[in-house]
Symmetry: C2
Subunit: 183 residues, 2 copies
């Protein structure tokens, strides 16, 4: 019998809770002594300190968080050349692969990677690169991918997929994003 | 201008990620120095140690987790009288109210409370009790309610609602629940 593969989990959809759910999954895994890596594809230069990263610093040595993306692409005042985003996303995936193959992690979270695969008009990563990454994972390494608009080929490869669907959002009622809840 | 009310957030739906998302929200809030209370309505005598609670013990003094429910109702070998479940759920809501009104918490998570409001054939709490609870919340206290099948009157009161929709689940492929991922 082949060794059981770790699970591929996808949190997608337009609703709030995708990154939170992966963070909760990280906490649960850490509580069991797992070694967890989070790679954030889009929060590299978001100008606030994330609460969860503040927490991470106080947490276990086996919890690593890398912010490797170049921030939002073409919105929120982004003026960086598109290639800089592409390079950053490819570099992030490369590092993720090295870390995955090192055997040092039980759970690897690629936060917002779906977004890098082609949200709106740009595409920072090729689907085949991410699929290859998933195929290369060692037995027992679990992978979580987050971000809206997960591609069908990613969903096809996943064991567990939850769509976070927005039913109601406070910003639509004119309530601004707030520290502690939204970031 | 009236003081801004804290948000009422609902994570509902049949997909995985509701409790994880609320746990992630708790982590984010704790990272900002908020005082967080989680009340679990249904995990009181589930026979495993939850990873997230192991973690919680190592966390901040301002993080409290109370397991007040009596476990699953009429499934998973439950043989307790129905009244015992009703009493436990009511007591849990009463304690939640006392804690909320104490001013000692910024974020209170009622985990699986939707389930207590009437999943399948039983109902442990009256919707009016939970609605009353929400109306009584002090300014700036945020509440998260989780559990599938959130009632329309709860959704009506909420500021943010995400439906976690199951697209794919490993148990349907014959992969059993596993420690570190599912509990």
């Amino acid at each position: 019998m082949a060794a059981r593969k770790g699970l591929v989990i996808v949190y997608t959809g337009d609703g709030k809770g995708k990154t939170s759910a992966s963070l909760g999954a990280a906490m649960r895994a850490l509580g069991h002594g797992w070694r967890v890596l989070i790679i954030q594809f889009f929060k590299g230069d978001w100008p606030v300190v994330y609460g969860e990263l503040e927490l991470a610093k106080k947490l276990y040595p086996q919890f690593e968080v890398l912010q490797l993306g170049k921030g939002f692409v073409k919105i929120m005042g982004d003026k960086k050349p598109f290639d800089a985003h592409v390079d950053a996303a490819r570099e992030a995936l490369k590092i993720a692969r090295e870390k995955m193959l090192s055997g040092d992690y039980d759970l690897i979270i690629l936060d917002e990677v779906n977004y890098a695969l082609g949200y709106m008009d740009f595409k920072l990563l090729e689907p085949s690169d991410v699929i290859e990454f998933l195929k290369q994972r060692p037995p027992k390494v679990h992978i979580i991918l987050t971000g809206r608009n997960a591609l069908p080929e990613i969903i096809e490869m996943a064991d567990l997929v939850t769509e976070m669907k927005e039913i109601k959002h406070p910003m639509k009622k004119g309530i601004p994003a707030q520290q502690g809840i939204d970031f």
